[in-house]
Symmetry: none
Subunit: 528 residues, 2 copies
């Protein structure tokens, strides 16, 4: 069957979701991931409404993208204004993109009540804006806001608005179910009529207010739409946008419609979790295709049958989207996991199912995971754990004492200081450092103490520091998980983890692992 163009608006419409916000750096990271996955368009933001978005456009220009075109969002010019004088349109040009996505009004009621102008003037605004941007050499995607509601209210006028965009040279016209209130049979019928009436390629932009955004995107494609706009994890205002993490595998595996290479689709689960992580939103376990429960099976009699004939209990093979089957309460699958990991890490260990050491480490990992540890993204801590269990590995130093003091006085200035005493080999080092918070003070003190022995740890920078509260309803007594990513120019990057009710303790564990693993890597490097 045909081909569908993927248009991601996580960075713009996605950030309209409650509690979703990304820094300009986060946006760049996500855009690069989307590009690598083969998304065709990445909407970066609305430069005219949000100064932070301009920073993103400035930063992303530094990169050569492989697949994705970056688009800037904006609205048609204001009534009785020329696009050349409209600051919103000018900021799109300033964004330095090759593609502009312009939304305009479809619904007669909105034109007269929200825009407070005439129906004729609105058509002129659409025409003038599209024409102007085309004349400046941009590709133009025209988003017809409230298209379906507008069509239901006044089909004739709704068609006139997109005809105006078509005549002015729009390259794609995207029909938006802005309020998310349309039913699949309405979407299907209206898209079909539009596809018959215009020459320009048609897109669909669905919202999830009736829990139908994915269905509406699918039926629109079946009715002839060739572009789907949506967001990763369905992030977006109110109930969100069409969730591309469900739309894409539905198109590829169910409808056999080409939109993403199958090998790239295997990174879908990782993409979903990465975007959740950057949004600091807990991933939805029951999310279709990519959720951790999406292929979770209860134990018992089913398990062995499942492993022999999974296709009868699973609608697709989980590996196709980079997810994995989870057999709840199954030591067998856990054991294979550990053995697989050990092989992956190239650990020269006697690991097989009958080895009692293998069982022991499996139990320890289960215990730690129950406590809230997470070894995905913390390979450093995981490898140290394996080495401690099998290899007689010992930490390169011993903590004798640590005290951290934070003080705040009426002036409002806050002050943190850490005092540390370590044993490194046979030597004792006792030192202190300040920091702009208790964790930073501890980090500084630990590094100061160790640099005497291992001067190269100066090159190991903390590249990322993340805190997740595991059981928020326990208030300030809650368990926290700290994930640290460390980067060294020569040794690359590695992740480590710590969990405790005390954020200092959790950070301490992750920090110690960070440096210990770095020393281990350095040693291996030197021995090569």
């Amino acid at each position: 069957m045909g081909k569908v163009i993927l248009y991601d608006t996580t960075l713009r419409d996605g950030t309209q979701g409650e509690g979703i916000s990304f820094s300009a750096e986060d946006k760049v990271k996500i855009a690069l991931k989307l590009d690598k996955m083969g998304f065709h368009y990445v909407e970066g933001g609305w430069p005219g409404s949000n100064p932070k978005d301009m920073e993103f456009f400035r930063m992303i220009r530094e990169y050569n993208l492989e697949h994705a075109k970056i688009t800037a969002f904006g609205c048609t010019c204001k009534p009785q204004t020329s696009p050349a004088e409209d600051p919103n349109i000018q900021s799109i040009l300033e964004a330095g993109v090759q593609v502009a996505t312009i939304f305009g009004k479809t619904w007669d009621f909105h034109v007269t009540h929200a825009l407070k102008t005439t129906l004729e003037e609105n058509l002129k605004m659409i025409r003038d804006t599209v024409k102007y941007l085309k004349s400046r050499g941009l590709e133009v995607i025209y988003d017809a806001e409230h298209f379906f509601d507008g069509y239901k209210s006044n089909a004739d006028y709704a068609m006139k608005t997109i005809k105006a965009a078509e005549e002015a040279g729009a390259d794609t016209i995207c029909l938006c179910d802005t309020n998310g209130g349309s039913m699949p049979h309405e979407i299907s019928e209206i898209v079909r009529r539009v596809v018959d009436a215009v020459q320009v390629p048609i897109g669909i932009h669905a919202h999830n207010d009736c829990e139908l955004a994915v269905a509406n995107s699918i039926v629109a494609v079946q009715a002839g739409a060739v572009q789907v706009q949506g967001t990763i994890n369905g992030f977006g205002e109110r109930c969100g946008n069409a969730n591309l993490c469900s739309v894409i595998p539905n198109l590829v595996f169910k409808l056999k419609i080409d939109c993403m290479d199958r090998d790239k689709l295997q990174a879908l689960t990782e993409l979903s979790r990465y975007v959740s992580e950057l949004a600091n939103v807990h991933p939805d376990n029951s999310q279709p295709y990519v959720g951790s429960s999406a292929f979770a099976h209860k134990g018992g009699v089913h398990v062995s049958a499942l492993l022999k004939n999974p296709e009868t209990y699973e609608h697709i093979e989980p590996g196709l989207v980079g997810n994995s089957r989870r057999v709840l309460v199954s030591e067998l699958s856990g054991m294979s996991n550990i053995i697989y990991k050990a092989e992956e890490l190239d650990l020269d260990l006697d690991m097989n199912r009958t080895n009692p050491e293998t069982k022991k480490i499996l139990e320890q990992i289960k215990y730690l995971e129950n406590k809230g540890f997470q070894f995905e993204g913390a390979e450093g801590s995981f490898e140290l754990l394996m080495r401690k269990a099998f290899n007689g590995y010992h930490e390169p130093f011993e903590l004798l004492a640590l005290r951290i003091i934070t003080e705040k006085r009426e002036a409002g200035v806050i002050y943190s200081e850490a005092i540390i005493k370590l044993k490194v080999g046979e030597e004792i080092v006792h030192t202190a450092a300040e920091g702009n918070g208790p964790v930073n003070a501890m980090d500084n003190a630990l590094r100061k103490a160790l640099e005497v022995f291992y001067p190269f740890i100066r090159d190991m920078k903390l590249a990322d520091y993340k805190v997740r509260v595991l059981d928020g309803n326990a208030g300030t007594r809650a368990q926290v998980r700290v994930l640290i990513e460390t980067h060294d120019k020569e040794l690359g990057s590695w992740g480590t983890v710590g969990v405790s009710e005390n954020i200092i303790e959790a950070s301490w564990q992750a920090l110690v692992d960070s440096l210990a693993y770095g020393l281990l890597k350095k040693k291996k490097e030197t021995e090569k």
Copy 2:
């Protein structure tokens, strides 16, 4: 248009969801709520597989239900067994219900590979089981497991299985998309064929593995199904079942199909949150219709249009499902959001666009949000900010000094202690407390100091504590944002926020706002 029968399986299929479990008492409470709302069937459990379920059936018999029939779930008898000897069937009789829901195999492959019997024997098992239960005076709903996959594999045999149920006297036949892998066009077409071929009323039981369970239920109804099976909030195995909290309003408001009285529908939001509460699952804010974000507006353009006419950006009036409109304050928001908020908070302020004070507060909010503040979910801090800007509000206490010490010794035990000195009115209070982390110690010390003056703050519990690192690549020097949710039985819930490079300082700000806002609410309550 026609009428649809609602069949709830939250208490059975819902509890297959990872992390979902209810006590027998919880189940009774939910069944009573569903009855009151006008649900037609409530599936109570599988007495043959779960002894805990029998307790529910015993307890629910004590009540006179107004609308709902309670059903017990089970499978057809085993191969070469008579239903009279099958303990699974007998336990349905022991449950003392008037309705049995029996599932049987549709898919030829499953019959031969999972049941390990002949296709003919499977038809006999279906016939015998339905006949037996009918002869014992029960109403029988036959759930055709894997119906759509079975139909796609061997349509002829699939039809034979439901014909067997029909001939044996089944009162309803429900077609199940057990693996959740079917597309709407397949569901629609297959349901239509079945409706044409059998006389018995047809139901639909959809799973959400493709994020299409609601759509599949809707299109099945449009194709002639007259019963919808689903769960509250879509709870269920893997990605869940069809979410009745979306299906019902879609049927009533969008398709004008009668299934629940409109006045009862106004309790839908409360029902959804009640079931989440009993399941101890955090409600999904972005859930269609009933989520707290479902009618929350963030974009400035949207808000200014909404103020003119709510229809512009809402697909239904939120009150129809017992939900309410919320306007969020964020960097995306304009002046309109601030004005709306001030009115909502009933602040007696001169707020209009031309007032320079309004501009000033908007700028201050933008400044704070640039620094990393986020006022969504922090209405408490936001209102305090507004009151400080306009109303000469002063905090109920003054910090004189705060010191927090965290110590760790070789034994590995970590210890945190906070010493605090406050001025409350003209009095000075100087005290100290321990905690299992520095923030918890500070929380304890602050409360200890304030309780002397405001004993009722003991009832204000921290319901949620979230930490977000804003710029992880700054390592342990990163800015952090702390969001706290506080709950008081009498005063309800409120959120507060703090931002700093020092997690202690950020937590301090959010904590102080939490208690200050609680005191303000208490004062307003007392003055009523």
